[in-house]
């Protein structure tokens, strides 16, 4: 069941087109990533979903409602974590949680939320004294305090150190397990690859692809690449014969084989049959980073 339906969405700021004919749906219970370079229109798209901005064209339905007309009801049911939004420096963690929970008709137990997010010992700490990671976790807690059906998290881990980023990812997995649908805006490939069930790639306001992270990667031609150094001379044809192999190249003493499917298995067995030992064997797999570059750079050229 779709909880968010976006159709032919358009938004322009003066002469800049921020969002250009973007359509997608988000299913209940999934983590939906919106990925794109800075300034691609990701934030504008989710701000329209949150009802903070009015689109110039297209339709948006969130939980079957119109974010502009039914804003009051949606704000009860959608939690948001905004990019670069803070709290007063002197507001204590528990005060923020208690205050924000009082805004909602059916709030979550904010004490448990603080425990779940590892902030229980920061209960009495002022916002200004929290570390970047702690502020971010508090921000997630505030997005969840209204017991939302959908949580929109914008640039969640920007500015966090790698450890804090990994900790935050664990938390997002936990949010999914609560049955909350998560819309995750990010420009980190690793984050999308690690967390998202499906990813929409947006570039210069346009939707360039929408797929699972693995699906996006498999769109790349040379999916896999194997490098090794044969211990005995090797004829290329024994490799090129294999259906999995696309190409064989030599680079110095190294052989570089590209292909798809069970490439590694096929190459190793054929080498074994010919009594060739592959030294320094390394397998390189294209990742979402490569897929993203391939998807967005060709857009830039046009």
């Amino acid at each position: 069941m779709s909880v968010i339906e976006v159709e032919h969405l358009r938004k322009r700021y003066r002469d800049v087109v921020a969002v250009d004919d973007v359509s997608f749906t988000v299913e209940r219970g999934e983590i939906f990533g919106i990925l794109g370079p800075n300034g691609a229109g990701k934030t504008t798209t989710v701000e329209i979903i949150e009802g903070l901005r009015t689109p110039d064209g297209g339709t948006v339905r969130v939980l079957g409602l119109d974010p502009r007309r039914d804003g009051a009801e949606l704000r009860q049911r959608v939690g948001a974590q905004l990019q670069e939004s803070e709290l007063p420096d002197k507001l204590k963690v528990w005060e923020a949680m208690e205050l924000y929970s009082s805004f909602y008709d059916r709030p979550a137990d904010w004490r448990r939320l603080l425990e779940d997010l590892g902030l229980a010992d920061k209960h009495d700490t002022k916002f200004g004294k929290l570390s970047g990671g702690q502020k971010q976790r508090l921000s997630i807690a505030l997005a969840l305090v209204g017991n939302p059906e959908i949580a929109v998290l914008d640039e969640l881990t920007t500015g966090l150190d790698p450890q804090a980023r990994r900790d935050t990812w664990e938390l997002i997995d936990g949010i999914r397990n609560r049955g909350v649908t998560v819309v995750l805006v990010t420009h980190f490939m690793e984050e999308a690859e690690r967390l998202a069930d499906r990813v929409a790639v947006i570039d210069a306001g346009r939707l360039v692809a929408i797929d699972t992270p693995a699906g996006l990667v498999s769109r790349l031609d040379s999916g896999q690449r194997i490098r090794f150094q044969p211990t005995t001379p090797l004829d290329d044809w024994i490799l090129t014969e294999l259906p999995e192999v696309h190409s064989v190249q030599r680079s110095g003493a190294q052989v570089v084989v590209t292909g798809t499917g069970d490439l590694l298995q096929a190459v190793i067995s054929v080498l074994a049959r010919h009594h060739v030992v592959a030294a320094e064997l390394r397998m390189e797999q294209a990742n979402l980073d490569d897929a993203f570059m391939a998807l967005t750079t060709h857009e830039e050229r046009s």
């Binding site: 949150e50 009802g51 903070l52 009051a72 704000r75 009860q76 959608v78 939690g79 948001a80 905004l82 670069e84 939004s85 803070e86 709290l87 007063p88 002197k90 507001l91 005060e95 205050l99 924000y100 009082s102 805004f103 909602y104 008709d105 505030l142 209204g146």
Partner: protein, 246 residues
């Protein structure tokens, strides 16, 4: 309503954690009245002042000081900081709209003004035997209009200031000339006619004079009440037009 009360209470707590603001807006005005009253000459009736004592004149001036601090400095600095930090925007994604935070700030400011004014009036009456308002209704009307005019100007500052620092800067730049014209450095009674005339057309000058007149038992002059009402309406309408939530 419950949400607004909760927000107001939170704003009050945050204000009380800001020792500089609490000192200058709430503690300093009654304290300054006490210091001035400690000078014996200021407790003697003076012919230059129409038989009044300096200490009598400083009661409404200190009330003007309280309004200036809370309305021109505290309110716009807080609101502009909240906008700068994205707090107002954050609120617009919750069931509470950011205008509630503005109302909470106003309620907190007016509440603290009442506390400080009570302290000023109380110390004046109890310690220095200053007069209770002779024309009570006129005094209340003058106070309500003076507060409305000051807070409206404060909202206008919050509307145009791009950041919390800018708001605090604009507040201080306005504070000194406005308090000068209200008689902080020397009372309006001993000012040159031209300065007093200019002061008549400022919110604090008109406000202090209206309170002063009502203290002596007269109804405040229509000019001063009209100036206060004009500032209250004009500044708040302009602020409403210019205010941005993000």
């Amino acid at each position: 309503m419950n949400r607004l009360a909760k927000l107001t209470f939170t704003e009050l707590k945050l204000f009380l954690r800001d020792p500089t603001a609490v000192f200058f807006a709430v503690v300093f005005p009654p304290m300054l009245l006490g210091i001035l009253g400690a000078i014996p000459a200021f407790r003697e009736p003076s012919e230059d002042l129409g038989g009044q004592r300096v200490i009598d004149l400083y009661v409404p001036i200190m009330i003007g000081f309280v309004l200036a601090m809370l309305a021109l400095s505290v309110l716009p600095t807080y609101l502009a900081t909240y906008r700068e930090k994205g707090i107002l925007r954050r609120l617009s994604t919750t069931p509470v709209q950011p205008s509630s935070l503005l109302l909470a700030q106003l309620a907190m400011g007016v509440g603290m003004a009442l506390v400080a004014v009570t302290l000023v009036l109380g110390i004046g009456v109890v310690v220095f035997d200053t007069a209770m308002p002779g024309q009570l209704l006129g005094y209340l009307v003058a106070f309500v209009l003076a507060a409305a005019a000051s807070f409206a100007v404060g909202l206008l500052i919050a509307a145009v200031a791009p950041s919390g620092k800018a708001a605090s800067g604009i507040g201080s730049i306005l504070f000194f000339p406005m308090m000068f014209l209200a008689g902080l450095y020397f009372p309006r009674e001993v000012m040159p006619e031209v300065l007093r005339r200019i002061g008549d057309f400022t919110p604090l000058g008109a406000g202090v004079q209206a309170l002063q007149d009502a203290t002596t038992g007269a109804w405040p002059q229509p000019l001063h009440l009209a100036v206060l009402a004009a500032f209250a309406i004009g500044a708040s309408l302009t602020a409403a037009k210019l205010f941005r939530w993000e």
